[in-house]
Amino acid sequence: MAVVCVRAPLRALAGGRGEHELEGATVVELLSGFESANPDLAGWILDERGLIRRHINVFVNGERGSEQTAVGAGDRVDVIPAITGGWQ
């Protein structure tokens, strides 16, 4: 199992826990399972196309990942809002 790590406000929508052990072979499988297990989170990380939202970054063991990045047992997957600014 891999560990999905989230911060506020996602943590509040995921039962108040910041770390979640989940099964999945890729980042998108993991995050899809994460949203399914926490219905209040549905659509907050992945959009209807199954893509990671544009201003959310995912890191697998500290390295930038994407939807199809492979994950394995013990991997840490951080979901972090992007540092953005200047455009709004």
């Binding site: 959009d47 199954g50 939202r53």
Partner: protein, 363 residues
């Protein structure tokens, strides 16, 4: 006492007061919610008193929240269900543009980008995509305007839940008479001056950049439209349109309002042009017609009259009441909100220095 529900680039603001001409302290801000987040549209349903806020987080996407309690209490807000496109498709919901109350009890409609109409039959807690419009065969040919493929205007028909019109920029007018199961275009007579092709235009195929549409409740077959260059009126329920913009300083603009008591009375807020989206001559003025668009008169008593280059967006103009007691309110991207309690004859400043105003509604 009037409540103004103001959606801004940095949160939702509630104001309370009474519009008194010339006053600068007629309203006070009572609540700020969703601090720092873009609130694209907000509305209080007058039937249930439920307050809705459409919030588009740049990180987490568009969401609809509602509260039956104290809007200042974050935990009182709930996220509405079903506000998304069908999973596995090629598009994602980009932004919620408008929420409108329906004719049937507990029914609401919501327009969004990409050209999608949602409907709720339980007072706005649960929503579903209107499949008739979503599966409209010409959808692959629809083109977005500068603000996206936004469904921004929803005109119900008083007393008849089956009849409705919606407008999409830039996919034009769509009409239904069977409760949204089937839709047809209503663009006859519109002239898209922004296109290089010379008229005549094909009302079935050309991209029509409708900016806003309102129906006259006392004469539902009459509708007014602010187009991307052109103000129009329809007397056949949106099937065809005729230009009524002569007499305005500019026929470019976004919002439009109709006096619910008088099908001949409407209000627009002209901007110079699509390439210069500010008030003409640096003067803030609302233009009124009392004869169905045959003539227009400026209404600006109490509004800034010099070096005021304001922009008013399409959802930032609202009304409540009717006739001589018609109240009009509009907000600007520069953070002011202005109001009139006498059908535009005199104006007050309801707020200054708000974040850019996206929407204004009154209850």
């Amino acid at each position: 006492m009037t409540e103004l529900v103001v959606g801004t680039k940095k949160g939702l603001f509630l104001l309370e007061g009474e519009a008194r001409g010339g006053s600068s302290d007629a309203f006070e801000i009572t609540t700020r919610a969703f601090a720092g987040q873009p609130v694209d549209y907000a509305l209080r349903d007058p039937r249930s008193r439920r307050l809705f806020a459409a919030v588009t987080s740049p990180f987490y996407g568009p969401k609809l929240f509602f509260t039956d309690g104290d809007p200042a209490v974050e935990s009182d807000w709930q996220q509405a269900e079903g506000v998304s496109l069908p999973d596995g498709g090629e598009q994602a919901l980009e932004r919620i543009w408008v929420i409108a109350t329906g004719e049937a009890p507990d029914t609401l409609y919501m327009g969004a980008d990409p050209g999608v109409l949602f409907q709720s039959h339980d007072g706005g807690a649960n929503w579903e995509v209107n499949q008739g419009l979503w599966n409209q065969p010409t959808r692959p040919e629809w083109h977005p305007g500068g603000g996206g493929l936004c469904l921004h205007s929803i005109s119900t028909w008083p007393g008849d839940p089956d009849r409705m019109a919606v407008a999409i920029s830039a996919a034009g007018m769509w009409l239904t008479e069977d409760g949204g199961r089937t839709w047809r275009r209503g663009n006859q007579g519109l002239t898209p001056r922004y296109l290089p092709e010379a008229p005549p235009v094909d009302p079935e195929t050309i991209a029509f950049c409708v900016h806003h549409v309102e129906r006259a409740p006392t004469r539902p077959e009459r509708m007014f439209m602010q187009f991307h260059g052109g103000v129009y009126r329809s007397d056949d329920a949106g099937e065809s349109w005729g230009e009524i913009g002569a007499g305005l300083p500019s026929d470019f603009g976004f919002p439009l309002k109709v006096d619910p008591a008088d099908a001949d009375s409407a209000y627009v807020i002209p901007l110079v042009a699509d390439m210069d989206r500010v008030m003409p001559d640096g003067r803030v003025r609302v233009y009124e017609t009392r004869d169905g668009g045959a003539s227009w008169a400026p209404r600006g008593d109490g509004l800034p009259a010099q070096h005021a280059y304001l922009t008013v967006l399409r959802q930032a103009f609202t009304s409540t009441g009717q006739g001589q007691a018609l109240q009009l309110y509009f907000g600007a991207t520069s953070g002011e909100v202005f109001g009139s309690g006498d059908a535009g004859a005199s104006w007050c400043t309801a707020a200054t220095r708000l974040p850019p105003v996206f929407s204004v509604s009154a209850a």
